[in-house]
């Protein structure tokens, strides 16, 4: 368990927060700093701080494995051998238009595709609406035609139908008078 800012009985001279800050200083500074007895005593007692120190040290060593101690004897020659190509490369990189130029055809193709999609979609939508409207009119026409043909099928002008109608009308009239 870590103690932040509170000095515990087992750690009379240093708390965990102080210990962590010191460990950060020491790990990042490498072996430059002198051993710290107080910190050593604290980490000997405190498992959490010991673990923090181990993880920090391991991570630091893994993070910066390529720090140099000895100069490269060929550095100067390489520097001037690669100067021209380096300047060419940096000149090209510094041109901010290069990526824009590179992507311009693709970006314009994408924009054209979007516009074409919008236009085609609009056209399709419009024709769909007009087809729907047209089909609505033909349905009305068809319905009236069906009604007429149905009426014709029933042959309402037949003599039997007329007789039947007259009979029904007569009956209803007599019912009303009664």
């Amino acid at each position: 368990m870590q103690s932040d800012g509170v000095k515990t009985e087992n750690k009379p001279t240093m708390n965990c927060a102080e210990a962590e800050r010191l460990m950060i200083d020491r790990v990042f500074s490498g072996s430059v700093l002198q051993p710290d007895d107080e910190l050593n005593a604290h980490t000997a007692d405190c498992a959490a701080c010991r673990s923090f120190h181990q993880k920090l040290s391991a991570d630091f060593n893994a993070s910066f494995p390529d720090r140099k101690q000895v100069p490269d004897p060929d550095f100067y020659d390489r520097l001037f051998a690669g100067k021209k190509s380096g300047e060419r490369r940096s000149g090209r990189k510094s041109n901010g238009l290069v990526p824009l130029v590179r992507f311009a055809p693709r970006l314009s193709a994408a924009a054209a595709a979007v516009l074409l999609g919008i236009w085609l979609g609009g056209r399709l939508f419009t024709s769909f609406i007009s087809i729907n409207t047209a089909s609505g009119v033909s349905e009305e026409t068809l319905r009236s035609e069906y009604m007429q043909s149905y009426a014709a099928d029933l042959n309402l002008s037949d003599a039997t139908d007329l007789a039947l109608e007259n009979y029904l009308n007569f009956n209803t009239e007599t019912d009303d008078t009664e």
Partner: protein, 190 residues
Amino acid sequence: MSDAELMRKVADGDPESGRRFAGQFQVLVYNVCYSFIHNRHDAEDVTQEVFLEAFRNAGRFRGDAKISTWLYRIAVNRSLNFIRNNRKRRFWQELSAVFDPGPSGSNSQEFEMSDDATDGRLKNLEQKSVIGKALDSLPENQRIAFTLNKMEDLSYAEVAEVMQLSLSAVESLIHRARLGLQKRLKNYYF
């Protein structure tokens, strides 16, 4: 030979002085760049850029500060510029991947940074260690002050000179950087 004398000869194009200057300071410059960039190949490239700039501007060195202070300043600026440009480069590369995900897209000759080596470098940057991420998440000034003081072993006064700040400002930056790192590392480790 004094610093000013050495730089005057470098400016005059004396190859022996140039060789001496490069030999004397290349480890220092490389380590500063490496501390910021966390990648050997990129740090070597930036080190070369720092020296090319130093050779170009050797005539302007007045001798008011030490050569190392002057070089630290160039190295820090170049490294931070590299990191910023790298972010832009990553953006364009991701955009390129969106438009052209196939392997045929990488054969463009004009855009050298889209080759395999760069992919590896970008991958390295993405897989940065906990410490790398924690350092990178600090505000720039805190990061510079902390890195120069702790990792490059510069005194507060030297850091103040490189960053052109007061001593108390540097003390405050380093203190806040330490607290920030402590907080971030605790979050990662526990």
